[in-house]
Structures are given as structure tokens and as C-alpha cells.
Symmetry: C2
Subunit: 368 residues, 2 copies
């Protein structure tokens, strides 16, 4: 088993990564001092519940824990205020009190939703993440929790750090292939922003990662979590450095918004976005190899790098302007300086972004 | 002008109390570094908007601030997730960003609602309180913000401290008499838990307070805020000491719940609750004078001290059991040791609480 410690002062917590952890959840909760006198809440989605809920429930029961369960529909639509209210109802009816914990069993959707419930139930109770997707190696570090408003994603939320994260790699074996690739997009992103060697390792071990080889996965998840944890430790509440985690996300979020969430998975959208940021870097005078290098890494992980024709440039630009990463009207981009290093660049001219978007539509980068 | 500083490390903030502050809001925002580049949000209710919104808007405009406004219905029903979502919509449509602030112009309802919006819009933006009720001297100290779930009051919320509180006593002149009394209940409560002299002062100056005499109000609000600020500084997130602020609230919340919010104002309900706690204290062996003393203070402020016949004891007890102040099934009460001092007493037997409730129904305490 590998452990990544997220250092955040008195909000520090461990991420346990390994096989066969889910059946041990009860013992881990005990080790971390969760009370057995209060009822806890498990939040999960239909897909995950069908595969892994029984194991979790049995583990809790065997250690003398009591929990009520809220099963939400799978997919981004569950990150809504309506579903949030339903989960709150289950918590209240289940009699959760201030010593209770909310356990998120699932991917980023369940993690974000359950985390926001934990952050706001009785003004905040304990939170435990049990991620079941690769993408969730990202969402389980940093304490960002949120639901969507119908007008904008992740608009309603909080910072709420978990007590512990229990990452059982065995649960990943049931993930659909497209979700695997999408999750690896955030993994290679962590290499692209802070660790060139790790980015290269992701490309070189792409086939092991895609086939969910446990050795490769364990290392990849550990490095991915560690890199994110370092960034978050330096800037818990996104005052500065933490923005580098948004590499590819400005264009990515616009693609998700204009595509109407559902067409693209988050990881796919930010993959195209990372290709775009690499292209922007070259246009801003960085080394010309950044773009083909980035694209080759993404393609190795079976991720898209070309923007589909049917997303109009004007709509993408408009979506970017609404993106909450624009503070006080200034347009900010995370731009690679080289593979493994990025800068936060302000005042990027709109015309240049348009140019990048147009070029991102070319069927295939010739020179890759 | 009087200033109470709430000491909470890097979340410390001042409460300015005085006449003629509302027209100076723009200058205060400037002094506290609020940006003029972003749009801000004013949340207020219909009653308050009719009387004081124009003054606030003019003050902001005159200093070059831009704000959108969300006017909610007056009353407790606006502390709901549905209204919360509406206010969020106004914030998003108004283009609020991470540098924006949410300004609460109103009483405790608007403060709690707007504060929860501020705590969760884009994971937290700045918050400014502009209280317009006497009760809000309580709600503007301590950072508790919340909305109600249909099953339980204040169940959904956060801790989110304001940047500053601007308490313009002139706005209080338009308060209905019943709201004045209800607000004074929390004021005298602050005396009853920590400052016998202040509790006595409230009784002795009851007629000035009830007639909104500015000198008396200024002193009362300052002492009330100071006492609460001291308690909150010692225990920001309600781990221990802060519970003493709940004097009268266990019975009070039950009265509100069973009476079906609307029959009793919060201050009226806790007034009966404080009479009940004093009675409980005597039954637990404290000095017999505690009860008549407490009752005389409350009556001087035109507050109720007798429980109406139509609230069944069983329902009140059931409501108390659902009250979130019961951690892990134990029944906790704040019990006066003498006027100006209280203890947190655990394991109060249900039978004793029933006895108190029955006696609280007697038309009038004979010996007062
Ligand atoms: N909080 C953060 O810091 C952060 C970071 C990145 C992404 N996110 C959020 O994460 C969300 C995306 O997360 P996600 O990609 O994990 O999505 P997800 O949670 O929707 O999971 C993807 C799909 O896989 C299914 N699934 C999950 N685990 C499975 C398993 N083990 N076996 C079979 N099926 C399984 C789910 O039911 C769902 O249909 C987005 O809402 C995004 O905003 C948050
Ligand atoms: N956050 C906390 O720490 C805390 C503490 C105590 C109470 N509270 C909450 O505060 C709420 C009660 O606050 P409240 O008593 O101020 O209620 P309120 O905000 O509903 O105000 C009472 C009534 O007076 C009206 N009003 C307000 N200011 C006025 C003015 N200047 N002139 C004329 N009318 C005016 C309002 O429209 C409303 O109808 C409850 O929801 C309670 O839970 C919170
Ligand atoms: Zn992402
Ligand atoms: Zn109160």
C-alpha cells in the first residue's frame, strides 16, 4: 500500500492507495477516530452502487458502524441543488448529528456532491472519500467541493478537506475504457505542469495504464496525487499557485459548456484544452516542440486533441468570458513554458485565443 | 460611533455601531478594500427594501461601486434552498466574480441567507452585514450562516465571517414594536450568560430600549455584541464554550417548531425558554431567586414568559429530541448558576424537562 500525505496544517490527511482497501473501510474509519455512536451517510451513484456498495456496507457493519445510504443517478446531472437537497433529506431523516461523517463512494461527481453536503450539513461534518474513478485522484485532493448551478458549473461550493481518502484500485477494474482515458488526462496534466519525467512516464506506460495494470496504476495515482497535494499545500484556497492546476481547463470548460455537458467527458475536454494551451505557448514564442510533445502524450492515452467542427468559435469564446477564472474582466491562461513547467499568463488577447481555437479544428496535427 | 472588534485571528472584523452609517456605506467599503472593478450583490427583503434600500444604493453609487440587488420576501420562509438558488441566479447573472462581495441589508433572515450565499458562491466570497433589526446584533457576530431544510431549521449552513458589520441605529427606528422586544431577548440573554450587571442594566433601561432611545440602544448593542464576540473568539466553531449562547434555545426552538414558525418570533420563543432554564436551574438546586429575577427582566422588556396551553408537552419533547444540539443522543441544557453565569449540563433527565414544561404553562408566576 502507498500513502500520500496531503499537508495542510491541522487539516492534513492521508490518501491510502492500494488493492483490497474497500473491505477494510470499517477499520480505517476506526483508526481515524470516527464515532460508532452516530449514524453516518454513504453517498454513491447507481453504477457504483451496483458494483461496490455491498462491500462497503459489509465492512462498516462488521466494525459496528451504522450508515444510511443515498444513491443518486450516475452522471453530472446529480451535481445539482435538487439532488443536494435530497441527500440532505436522507441525512436529516437518518438522524446524522455533528459527529457523523459523509462517505463518498464514487467518482468526481459523487465526491463533489457528497463533499458539499459534508461541508454544509449542520455547518460542516466529517468527510471521507472513497474514489472509484481515475479522475477522482484529482478531485480527492484539495478539498474543492461543489454542485452546479443551471447557469454555470461548480458555481456553488466550498473548501472542505476530507479526514482520509481510501483509494481502492480494485474498484477501478470495473471502469469503462472511455472513463479510464478521461481520468488519465488529469494524471498526465499533473506531469505537464510540474514533472516532465512523470509526463514522459505516462506516455511510456500508456498501454499498462489503459489496461489498468495495478503496478502502473498505483505509481501513476501516487505521483498524480502527490503533485496535486504539493500545489494545494502551497495554496489551499486558490490565491495564486493553485491556478496552474487549471492547465487546459479554460478551453476545456468552454468545450463542455458549448457541447452541452454529456457530449464530452471532462477529461476529454481538457485534453483538447491542453493541446490548445500547448499551441498557445508556441504562438507566444515558447519552444515549438511543446505542441507536438504534448499532443503525442495525450494521443498515447487515447485522448482527443482536435476540436470538433460543430462547436462555434464565438460560442466557445463567449463561454470562456463567463468562466469564473476571469477575475475582474482579465483573461488568464495557464501556458506551458516547457513540458513539466507552466506560467500563469494574464491579459492574453482574445484574437490569439480565437486563432488557437480555429487551428485546433484541423483534423490532425501534421507534424506529430 | 462605537466599534466592537471581533477577534478571530486573520478573520477578525469590526462592528461599527452608530447613527448615520448607512449613507456612508460606500466609504466603509472603500476603507475595507472592496474592489470597484467587480459587481457586488445586495440581498435584502421587501420590508427593508421599501425603507432603506435607496439610501444604500445611493451611497454605493456615489463612491463608484456597482451592485445588483436581490429582494426576497420578508420572513423566515426566505431562509430556504429555493430562495438561496434564486439569489445565486441573480449573482451569476450579475456577473459577480471572486473579488465580489455579498451585502446583507436586513435582519437575521437576510443575514443568514446572504451569508450562506457569500460562503458558497464560487466557494466563498466576501460578506458584509448591514443589520436593520435589534436581533441582528446577535446574528452579525460569530459567522454562523444558514438556510432551513423543510425538516429542520438552520440545518444547512457554514461558518463564514464578514469583512465588517455596519450597524446603523437609525434603521432601527422603523422596526415594529414586537420585533424590538424580540430582539431585546437576545440582548438580555447576553447579560444572563456572562454579565449580571448588563442584565440588570437592560431591566433598568427597558423603557428607553423599548422606545428606541439612541443612547440606550448604542450601549445595549455594543455590550451585546461584545459579550457574544468574546464567547465566539474563544470558540469560533462551537466546540465547547460557544454552546452557552444557546441559553433558552432548546425549549425555544421546540416552541418555534411546534408553534409552526410564525406564531412566535424567535426572541419570544427563547424568552419563554430562558424562563424555563431558570426554572430548571432552581429544580437542580440553584438559588431560588434565579427564576423570579430572570422573569422580571424578561417581563420588563415586554417578553412572554408563559408557555401557551395549545403546545402539547409530548410534541415539545419530541421536537427537542430532534434538535441538533443533542450530540450522540445525550440531552444537553444550558443552566444558569446565578444571573450572569451559566453551565453546560449534560444528561438532564427527560422527566425533569417535562416537569418544567408543565409548570411553564401556569398563567403567571405567583411570586414575581
Ligand atoms: N473537486 C475537484 O477538485 C475536481 C477535480 C476534477 C474534477 N472534478 C469533478 O469530477 C467530476 C468528474 O468525475 P468523474 O470523471 O469521476 O465522473 P463520475 O463520478 O460521473 O464517474 C464517471 C462515470 O463512471 C461511473 N463509475 C464510477 N466509478 C465506477 C466504477 N468503479 N466502475 C464502473 N463505473 C464507475 C459513474 O457512475 C459515472 O457514470 C466532474 O463533475 C468534475 O467537475 C472535481
Ligand atoms: N446567525 C446567527 O448567529 C443567528 C443568531 C440569531 C438568530 N438568527 C436568525 O435570525 C433570524 C431572525 O432574525 P430577525 O429577528 O432579525 O428576523 P427578520 O430578518 O425576519 O426581521 C424581522 C422582520 O422585521 C422586518 N424588518 C427588518 N428590519 C426592519 C426595519 N429596519 N424596519 C422595518 N422592518 C424591518 C423584516 O422584514 C421582517 O419582517 C432567524 O432566522 C434566526 O435563525 C441567526
Ligand atoms: Zn479537471
Ligand atoms: Zn437566538
Amino acid at each position: 500500500m502507498r500513502t500520500v500525505q496531503v499537508e495542510l496544517g491541522d487539516r492534513s490527511y492521508p490518501i491510502y492507495i492500494g488493492p483490497s482497501l474497500l473491505p477494510e473501510t470499517g477499520s480505517y474509519l476506526e483508526k481515524h477516530g470516527l464515532t460508532k455512536k452516530s449514524t453516518h451517510l454513504i453517498v454513491t451513484d447507481e453504477q457504483v452502487a451496483a458494483r461496490h456498495l455491498d462491500t462497503l456496507k459489509q465492512s462498516l457493519e462488521s466494525q459496528g458502524y451504522t450508515a444510511v445510504v443515498s444513491i443518486v443517478k450516475s452522471g453530472e446531472t446529480s451535481k445539482s441543488l435538487a439532488v443536494y437537497e435530497e441527500v440532505m433529506t436522507t441525512a436529516i431523516q437518518g438522524g446524522l448529528d455533528r459527529s457523523s461523517a459523509v462517505l463518498a463512494l464514487g467518482g468526481g461527481v459523487v465526491g463533489d456532491l457528497a463533499g458539499f453536503v459534508a461541508a454544509t450539513y449542520m455547518r460542516g461534518v466529517k468527510f471521507v472519500q472513497i474514489p472509484t474513478t481515475i479522475l477522482a485522484h484529482d478531485s480527492s485532493v484539495g478539498g474543492k467541493v461543489a454542485v452546479n448551478h443551471r447557469l454555470a458549473k461548480n458555481m456553488i461550493g466550498a473548501f472542505h478537506q476530507p479526514e482520509l481518502v481510501l483509494y481502492d484500485m480494485d474498484t477501478l477494474q470495473t471502469l469503462p475504457a472511455r472513463e479510464v482515458s478521461a481520468g488519465l488526462a488529469e494524471m498526465v496534466k499533473h506531469g505537464l505542469i510540474r514533472d516532465a519525467e512523470f509526463a514522459g512516464w505516462c506516455r511510456d506506460h500508456a498501454s499498462e495504464l489503459l489496461s489498468l495494470d495495478r503496478e502502473a496504476l498505483a505509481y501513476g495515482l501516487e505521483r498524480g496525487c502527490s503533485i496535486k497535494a504539493n500545489v494545494v499545500s502551497a495554496d489551499e484556497r486558490e490565491g495564486g499557485l493553485r491556478a496552474i492546476l487549471n492547465l487546459g481547463h479554460t478551453i476545456g470548460h468552454a468545450i463542455e459548456a458549448v457541447g452541452g455537458y454529456g457530449e464530452f467527458l471532462h477529461g476529454e475536454a481538457i485534453s483538447i484544452g491542453m493541446a490548445g494551451s500547448a499551441m498557445l505557448a508556441v504562438k507566444l514564442g515558447r519552444d515549438a516542440s511543446i505542441y507536438p510533445e504534448t499532443v503525442s502524450m495525450l494521443k498515447a492515452l487515447k485522448l482527443p486533441v482536435v476540436l470538433p467542427e460543430h462547436l462555434p468559435t464565438d460560442e466557445l469564446i463567449a463561454a470562456m468570458k463567463h468562466d469564473k477564472k476571469f477575475t475582474e474582466g482579465t483573461m488568464v491562461f495557464i501556458v506551458p513554458d516547457r513540458i513539466g513547467e507552466v506560467s500563469i499568463v494574464k491579459d492574453i488577447p482574445e484574437a490569439l485565443v480565437r486563432e488557437v481555437i480555429e487551428e485546433l479544428r484541423r483534423k490532425e496535427p501534421e507534424h506529430v
